[in-house]
Amino acid sequence: MDNQLEAITVIFTEFYYWVTVVLMFLIHVGFCLYEVGVSRRKNMLHTLMKNAMIVPLVTVAFFFFGWWIYFAFQYGPGITGGLKEAPWALPWNELMGPHMGGQPRDDGLTAADTATWARLNGVFWAAFLLFSLTAASILSGAVIERIRSGAFWVIAVFVGSVTWVIAAAWGWSDAGWMVHTLGYHDAYAGGVVHGVAGASALAILVHLGPRIGRFAADGSARTFPLQNPWLVAIGLFLIFTGFWGFYAACNVPILDIDPEDGRLFFSATTIYLTPTTLSAVTVNLLMALASGMLMAYFLSKGDPFWTFSGGLGGIIGASAGNDLYHPMQVLLVAAVIVFCAFKLHYWVERRFKIDDAVGAIAVHGYCGTLGVVATGFILWGYPSSPAADSVAITPWGQLIGAVIVFWILGFAPAYAVGGILKRAGMLRIPVEVEIAGLDRHTRREERQQSQAIRTAEREHLIRIGWKDGGES
């Protein structure tokens, strides 16, 4: 970088994404608190560790192959081309490490690659990783209190580093084949992150089955009371906070719109490089949150779990079109989608005996996917990309896109992996351990250690001259 304007633009962009990463980390903190708050006391440590270990496992997997998949698969399975060249995203590439942007040593790189990616590859990678952690964490809540951690982490790595990334490559990139053939529009990843993760959770729950005692003999569902509503509330507030980072990370902060027309016009853009403003999407995020909470409070008659979840559902439901909606439209869209997702949740629960412990399928899967479909009607005719031959957004393009993200990339692959793990006897905790509690043996060891320490303290007091009454 040898001029100040370029340096300010690039380093501002680098810093911008760094801030989004920090904010998005709060989503993961929130998910951990939320899940532990919902878990019964006998399962809390298991629940915490199951979610927390997503961070190291998916981070490494995303470094190894997730980032490369995002670029390489953008043309789809031979639809608009073959595998796309993306040497900067390979784990052994020099641009994955500290680099000043000078001449490349790797044969696959050009000088333009190093100049563009040297300062941005790492922060882009990190922002995408945080989307991956969110996708995996969405699954985590649905399956608490009966899934084996190992099985869950295999699924988490698969969804977090493969399936959602393919969805993003296809429908959430400026070269994605779904964008260029279907006019697919999903600006804030309602379908490609939340739809995929929610559908994956549904697929795993089909194999996993409900927690023991969840359904009565007559088929009616019993409600497990919230173990710690304060943790649930704080967790969801942290997730809300992290969503500002999530939304900001979905934008490019500063870019010359249509650089080939000879005029300079800088704006924030979506990931499709279509113009929007950070201001507009910030208002829309808040309106969606408000609308979702109001509708969920109404539907659940003030139940705190559903009211907070409704806020999240509202944001996710409006996400696909939040770059272009008016706030009033957001208010209505989020309310309708949260209404539909709430009703769908209880219908699926009754009809298929699906025990989704945190409502993740409704909040993420149904809201995200319904939001994609709604965008087809509300933004009907808008160009989906800045390309001269851009395909317009349509209801049928969005509907096909919603089927692809929910069923083909969300449900089907997770169903296959879940089935393999179930056949291998690796999916569910043994029934005796599930009933006794997943923390039981850990707590027993803790109790034994505590008793040993107490005995040692007592012996110490006797040694220094205290009278021993004989009680231990």
Binding site: H99, E432, G437, R444
Partner: protein, 76 residues
Amino acid sequence: MSLIGTIDSWAGNPLEVGPMYPWVGFEVGFFLVSLALWICWMVWLLKTEGTVYLHEAQRLKQRDVSDVVGGEDDIY
């Protein structure tokens, strides 16, 4: 002069500086070692977890239901 790195001096033209980390050229080797360790960790975890649950389930089966649910060790 650095024996393993690519930087001899910070006084040169930074526009010509590419990768700054040591051992440039060995990245594929580092990748293969890291991948092997990551896979080993997953295999170790899956094996260990299976054994722990097997032993715990066998231990619990030897006890009365009233010891497991509602007994001294029970937490809910």
